[in-house]
Amino acid sequence: MQKRLRMIASFLLCGIFLLAIAAELFTPYSYAQQFREFPNAAPSELHPLGTDGLGRDLFSRLLYGTRVSLVLAPAAALLSTLIAGALGGAAGLLGGWCERAILAIADLSLASPLLFVLIALRAMLPLNVAPLVSVIATFLILGLLGWPSSLRVIWAATRSIRNSDFLLLARSTGCGPVRLIFRQIFPNLRPALFAQFWVSIPVFILTEATLSMLGLGVSEPMPSWGNLLRGLEDFSAVSSNPGRFAPLVMLTLVVICFQIILPSQEDLG
């Protein structure tokens, strides 16, 4: 049953990825094109999900927005997992003052209000950038700031490896530090790293959505799930066009799919 569910979830995710990547094939409109005569239009043949407040085709915006959120969130998750892996691994292996310093920095980062830090960093960025660069910058910031919670998990896993018998055995046989890291430690850390990577993806998607809801995420006219979700603020438009719920449905679907295909405790061994 679990296996079948995972298959369905993977299939759905792949389908959504494909739709997003080949968006041009599925919609004739640009995400920025405004049909000003038809703002807040209900679904029709021309606009399957209707239009937004500026008359832009919601289906095109959903596909292009999916591309932004689904491509960049894994990239940010990869970055944050790599940082967490490097720092958590170093803390767990080296111990002593290095461990204390890294954990102190991680705790400090966890205690700081992430949203305000993001807002401040976003404000410090140069203004004269194209929308695509601003999107990448937003996710880069998310990736650079999102590592502390993963670090704690990686650190704990590395610590248990450091005290393990197989590592002692490897050391006693004269295994060098590089070989120790890449042949003994990293393979044993891999399940934890993967888990952190998968867990981070929906977190970053939702954080970007929150930032966009505040008007600080992906900038106009580029769509993302976050700024599409802002369309739900307009209650009268939502009541006349249920197509406005599409990004919410997509986001929920993708987060559920990620949760299903996430490696379980048994998978991690």
């Binding site: 920025a32 405004q34 000003r36 703002p39 407040g53 500026l54 008359g55 807002i119 401040a120 976003r122 404000a123 203004l127 004269n128 950038v129 194209a130 929308p131 601003s134 505040l214 008007g215 600080l216 900038s219 106009e220 006219p221 802002r230 603020e233 307009d234 209650f235 009268s236």
Partner: protein, 544 residues
Amino acid sequence: MLRTLRHLSVFALFLIAPTAHAQSGGVLHFCLHGEPKTFNPVLVEDEASENIRYLTGGVLIRLNRQTQALEPALATSWHLSKDGRKITLQLRKGLYFSDGTPFTSEDVAYTMKMLMDPQLHSGTGDAFRSAEGTVDVQTPSVDTVAITFPARVAGLEPLFDQVAILSAHSPKKEMAVLGPFYVSEYKAGSYVELKRNPNYWKRDAQGHPLPYLEGLHLDIQRNRDIELLRFRRGELQLINRLDSESYVRLQKEDANVAHNAGAGLDSDHIWFNQVATAPLSEYKKTWFRSAQFRTAISKAINRDDICRVVFAGFAKPAYGPVSPANRFWFNSALPAAKYDPQRALTLLIKAGFRFSDNELRDQFGNRVEFTLVTNSGNAVREKIAAMLQQDLANIGIKMNVVTLDFPSLIERMTRTFDYEACLLGLVNTDLDPNGQMTVWLSSGENHQWNPSQKTPATTWEAEIDTLMREQATALTDKKRKEKFDRVQQIIYEQQPFIYLVNRDVLTAVSPAVVGAAPTVLNPPAFWNVDVLQLRPGTELGAQK
């Protein structure tokens, strides 16, 4: 017989009275959109305190929000000296503050003293500060007061509309008032309760004492959605300001509830950074300083579309610094700047730009591209920005949009000047151009395109400086209007601010309220609160 006749005449009066179906008494419920920071009318700066001041304060001269004309209030008449420095006011006799303290000329003298006290930093008092020196107040009798200023104060009489008279002798200090209501209870963060002032001086045409209402209950509610929900549930009877979406929604439910007073005084506009020291490329500074470039941008913007799409038709295209809602000061001779992208391109080509492959380049081959900043979280401005993006793309200009949190935006606008163009709005509460001195004088802090200049950077800014100073000292309103008309014309020609829209003033008034006549001036829905009444049987929560 006489008694019967009297009864009959009272009955006849009751029948013919226009508001015979309404009742005196009752408590009107509506919201303040923030915590009142003070109840001292001299120290008022925020909107909530200003509303309380309007509801409780008695003023010498009142600006009628409907006719925009001045009317006698606590002063029955006034006389301005020829040099414009001295105003002599004749006060109403036999009036009392809400606590029973008599009202005399001493109270006016005391209020002026408080207003001009440099220790208090009164924003209201600042408007009266025309020059260095003290304000002299003479009280030759209990009902006469003469105020002499060190220099002429232009537009002096309307300024008294903001001055609520304080009692010099009442132990209740600022809580003793001369307005229609007094503050009876205040629960921080929750509500302000106002009760009818039994000593209010005004009476209706039939001689009945005003106000009709027994009191006001003002809930402190920042969330406009909750305010709207409560209004629809019948828990509130009035909304002072509505956005266009809520207006459309209410109008669909009940057309009698939603009121549109027409284009208001507030405007949304964009401007280009013209600060000489701004950290921008020199070629961009050259574009932004070019009047032709700015005019072309203005012509390329489809303001009608913005009004229709963003404001659901509840806004009017704006072309100049004064809204037509400001009946006296608006320069009606200025033509409407029509949407004409072809003309915009012609202007740009004349200015040395080249248009090919749907891209606009300057004479050095630089692609015309700039970033517009605006405040984050403002869905209306974000929509306007997206529309500007498409309009400018039609003439080959690439415009990026960046939204910033407000403190970061202000930092860039006023300190670092690290931005290219900005979209913001101007809230106008004052009809008189003197209220905008800091915007138009080149030395002004709010001269946003190039603030706090030591000497005017351009000849047209120098001319505006001269005209604004001249209008401030001109002896007649006609002369002042001539000068300010010219200022408006220069701004129209130079486009330092590219005006986009004047939003309509939208309000909601429950059918339970009788006598409401929303206007464009603040407070639009309850400016005539002293004559508002509630229909019988419309107690709170009765109507859905």
